[in-house]
Symmetry: C2
Subunit: 412 residues, 2 copies
């Protein structure tokens, strides 16, 4: 191997306006370039405690067990599911996009009995639809996605907690795509577990997954306690239920590592933790509600521009996430060629779609660090230029003026 | 919450001379501060391909499937084990320290029938001992640890591949603590799978785990193929054997993501990948053999100094890893107080021990970026000063002179 052909990392400059990952906030990248600490250095465990406190703020919760899973957002999902689902448990998954299918998939790997409920892509569920299914299936867990980037839809969750409590169902949501850009009230909405990711509205790089667990969920997990060989002592006893079929994702052991016992599990990914801490700190410094309003302002500005460019949007706009928009690829326009010209000639990435929407819909994000006016304006003008170049006619200036008008009347 | 009490990340300066994590190479941290790319940006997939090529160099292998698992080194272990072990499979684990117990633990979570072989801590196994056990147990997999930091021992692996091949046993090793600082020849030694971590001799932060898989191992995994709902198409068919009981760690799907199909799985942790790429690039630029010789030089210098300080060492030195040394805590000395003074007054971290060695042995590492003369000299002089301060007598100057003498005659 000729090692000289591998130069130092020098990624091309990109404005990432797809459904995520997006550009990380430069302050987060700077935090991540800090030198490391030992795992049990008092300065390190202090940072771990601070991360717990900061994410309580981000999740709007008093939950003690609010921490990070060392892996991508999908690792956070699997940690919650494999720790909560015993083989044979019934789970109900309302599927309104690809990430609902992912919950089914992960639950199936946990050997759950998986029941689904489906609506057409671009729609969400009413609380009644979900309650009816709960009555019929009698699941142990309800597994939901709050915001499914595959369809851009946001499932209302506020009324589901009370329904779950009445039917003794544990209530989980995957908030990877929605958190920080849309309201999410862990305690007020009665959620038992949430997992999230960094690379959407939180403005960091993928690689660590914040989660929060209610006391009720912690009790369920503690019943499966199993301290690993090599570190267990006589003081440790096992829970009354069957063990969790993963070591890495055993939330009982992860709690013992983040808790005062500091029982060794993995070696915390310090750099990712520094980044996650900075993301939460910046969000709370801005104010959670201010940040959500910012996502709405720029999401709506993008929407106004797209509509005045003469493009159709995808899905029920009443339930759209603030931070991502589905845009129908017009008849006769090569969607992939548009994305290619956007990327190569303007350095701007917009997203393609999965499954039934593939080739029909672009997805444009305005989230995290990129929920900014300049990002929206650059993306709209570049998209219009590319569409015109490929023969799609627009009313000159109309899209940009709609965005300007929106900003003039917007509240942020 | 009063957000102003959370200041920006500003870790105290530490020289991390424990068993890992150690200080990351500053060039690695700089690479990790690079701005992000989209998941399918040609520049990103090019970097992924480069990472595969670079780690083939680090692992001394031609294995096509050489890639990263997004999680700590323990995630890499679990990905290999859960993908390779079918419930009920027999596995044999030669246990010579804590991380052998960890392999048992993870295999048990994969529902393997786990058989162990033990030697006292501080020793390793002969090939005959392992072959005899293979004959008796007839396992499907042999799960080994190459270097177990809990005892500082390095298990010789060179002869085990041929034994495994003769008995049709799949051969795995956890090289987290050893890779980059001790010889490891994937192909020449007949290994079917290896997982590693960044935070020891590779000189990066914990958070991503390089793995490599032989063609034989890939065949075993492919028989359990199961493409997830939401992205599977009619072109995808399942394997003949039962599915892998994890989605996140399903190496079949991870290969499809790193391979030309680029089938979406997790969102690659770009920042961690940039760091892992820089670690491998720096190691290959230095030359693998040169790097190993550097670890031996500084490890031996530390050993000479410790011995001339009048301290006993732990374990069979013939089988010690180059990069970590067990030092017996002298009678009448409070080991934790020594570590505390080293940390607080000198900013130097040395390690404590697990299990049977707890309170009896310090572990001092010389690895990765910290396998350097200045790190060894600072650590020796600080340790001697602290010991003297606490009333333990040494021959003034002898330890330092022994290290100087070693460097004068050393080869690096």
């Amino acid at each position: 191997m000729d090692i000289t052909q591998f130069s130092q990392i020098n990624p091309p400059q990109r404005l990432l306006m797809g459904p995520g990952p997006i550009n990380a906030d430069p302050r987060v990248l700077r935090a991540m370039s800090s030198q490391l600490l030992g795992q049990y250095d008092p300065a390190m465990t202090h940072y771990m405690n601070e991360v717990m406190a900061l994410y309580r703020g981000v999740f709007c919760t008093e939950n003690r067990w609010t921490m990070l899973i060392d892996g991508t957002s999908r690792a956070g999902i699997e940690a919650v599911l494999v720790s909560a689902i015993r083989p044979g448990d019934k789970v109900l998954v309302p599927v309104f996009g690809r990430f609902g299918h992912l919950l089914c998939e992960i639950a199936r790997r946990c050997r759950a009995e998986v029941h689904t409920l489906e609506v057409p892509w671009g729609e969400v569920f009413t609380p009644d639809q979900i309650e009816d299914a709960i009555k019929k299936v009698k699941p142990r867990l309800l597994l939901t996605v709050q915001g499914d980037t595959s369809t851009t839809m946001l499932q209302p969750l506020a009324e589901l907690g009370e329904i779950c409590r009445r039917h003794h169902v544990l209530f989980y949501t995957d908030a990877t795509a929605s958190i920080g850009g849309n309201a999410l009230e862990t305690d007020a909405w009665g959620l038992d577990a949430i997992s999230a990711g960094m690379q959407k509205c939180l403005g960091g790089p993928s690689g660590t997954s914040p989660i929060t667990l209610s006391d009720n969920m912690v009790d369920v997990i503690r019943q499966r306690k199993c301290v690993e060989e090599g570190i267990r002592t006589e003081a440790h006893s096992d829970g009354s239920e069957e063990m969790i079929y993963s070591n890495y994702f055993d939330l009982g052991m992860i709690m013992d590592y983040w808790g005062p016992e500091r029982l060794n599990h993995h070696t915390e990914a310090t750099t990712a933790l520094f980044g996650a801490r900075e993301c939460a700190r910046l969000i709370l410094q801005e104010g959670l509600d201010n940040g959500i309003a910012r996502h709405k302002l720029h999401g709506d500005a993008l929407l106004a521009g797209i509509q005045h460019m003469g493009l159709e949007t995808f899905g029920n706009l009443q339930y759209k996430m603030n931070n991502v928009l589905g845009v129908m690829i017009p008849q006769g326009v090569n969607g992939d060629l548009v994305r290619k010209l956007m990327l190569e000639d303007f350095g701007i990435e917009i997203g393609t779609s999965f499954g039934p929407l593939h080739g029909k819909v672009w997805r444009i994000g305005t989230m995290g660090y990129n929920a900014r006016k300049d990002c929206v304006m650059q993306t709209l003008s570049a998209l219009e230029a590319v569409l015109n170049h490929l023969g799609f006619n627009t009313v000159q200036g109309a899209a940009m003026q709609a965005a300007w008008d929106h900003y003039r009347h917007g509240s942020c």
